[in-house]
């Protein structure tokens, strides 16, 4: 991080103070009348994030089969400007969406991010992901208990001419 | 550009004809020549990173007692340093050809 000359008020406080901040309602107690619809379980899917291969990760996260669907619109660049910051977003016209997840096939761990979509939240997410190399990126939408997906290839390489 | 391609070709061109294995004296002479050329290039503020790394590789090989490799690396470093000197002197006027007018 930054050098220590001239303390950097915001970052230093964050790094030191972060742990001290009391977080209300930490942990996984679902509070408020969570709607009955079976959202993916509330706990952080530790296992799924550890798995290397995409199919295993999907099974660990959802335990169901997936079918591609053109109702899932995945937006990803053709050639990533930089593998460290790749803008990826998904929208869908499917109904009763409860979860959206992103898988990067060639990454050390396929599952990149998973989002729980409570009732009343629009089924669309934009985020920035890291990609180790040229890879397929798959977005999976859980709608009304069934899994739909879309996949695109993103070319990734380093920049510059040498060094 | 891959680093290895130009270096490999360079090595092929500069194979020392000496048949017997190089000894420390050969290395010291080759290293001194390379270092002088490298200092001159640095003095012209046109040093190449590969000159510095090849010079270091020569020293490392010599420290390890492998004087054949050390001499080859020192000669290569000298060649690189001389190339950067040649580049600096020729560019003194050559740059004008590229200028947008």
């Amino acid at each position: 991080m930054t050098t220590t000359t001239g303390p950097h008020p915001t970052r230093r406080l964050i790094l030191q103070g972060a742990a001290g901040v009391a977080l209300l309602g930490l942990g996984n107690l679902p509070f408020g009348a969570a709607p009955a619809r079976a959202a993916a379980n509330d706990k952080y899917p530790e296992e799924a994030f550890k798995l290397k291969n995409e199919a295993d990760a999907i099974k660990a996260l959802y335990g169901k089969t997936v079918e591609p669907s053109d109702k899932v619109k995945l937006d990803a660049p053709e050639i990533a400007e930089n593998g460290g910051v790749v803008p990826i977003s998904v929208t869908t016209t499917l109904d009763k969406v409860t979860s959206i997840s992103f898988f990067v096939a060639e990454n050390p761990n396929a599952l990149a991010a998973s989002y729980r979509i409570p009732d009343g939240t629009l089924p669309a997410v934009a985020n920035r992901l890291k990609m180790a190399k040229t890879t397929n990126v798959t977005a999976i939408v859980e709608a009304d208990g069934k899994l739909y997906s879309a996949t695109k290839e993103v070319k990734v390489t380093v920049g510059g001419c040498g060094g | 550009m891959k680093r290895s391609l130009p270096l490999a070709m360079l090595l092929a061109l500069s194979l020392a004809p000496a048949a017997r294995a190089a000894n420390e004296a050969d290395y010291k002479a080759a290293y001194a020549a390379a270092e002088a050329a490298s200092k001159e290039a640095a003095g012209m503020r046109n040093q190449w990173t590969v000159t510095v790394s090849t010079l270091a590789a020569a020293k490392k090989a010599a420290d390890g007692g492998d004087f054949d490799r050390a001499v080859a690396a020192a000669q290569e470093a000298e060649a690189l340093a001389k190339a950067s000197i040649f580049q600096a002197t020729s560019e003194k006027d050559a740059w004008k050809a590229m200028e947008i007018r």
Partner: protein, 103 residues
């Protein structure tokens, strides 16, 4: 204290669009520093958005989320002036929280 969370939430009609940028290294644990030592994994695992006492968005993140992570989503059922509470926890037990007014 300046929070690590920058959030922009704008409501037009019934839909509120939320964008968040969080200052966090998101280290994967697979990268070595200049001295050759591995930088240990340090990444946000869960990010929660709550409004009017209800979770409106929950993100479970792995190591593939970019440094200074960004996320955008929209939800219904809130209006200008409502409080949007954002909180994250990372794999080292670090956390931060902030509350923003919907514009």
């Amino acid at each position: 204290m300046a929070s690590s969370i920058r959030v922009r939430s704008t409501s037009n009609g019934d839909i509120t669009e939320v964008q968040a940028l969080i200052q966090h290294p998101m280290d994967t644990g697979l990268v070595k520093d200049s001295k050759g030592e591995v930088i240990p994994a340090h990444f946000i695992q869960q990010l929660k958005f709550e409004c009017n006492g209800k979770d409106v968005f929950v993100a479970d993140w792995g190591t593939a989320v970019s440094k200074d992570p960004y996320v955008k989503f929209s939800f219904k059922g809130a209006k200008k002036g409502d409080d949007l509470k954002i909180s994250w926890t990372d794999n080292k037990g670090g956390s931060d929280t902030t509350t923003a007014k919907i514009a």
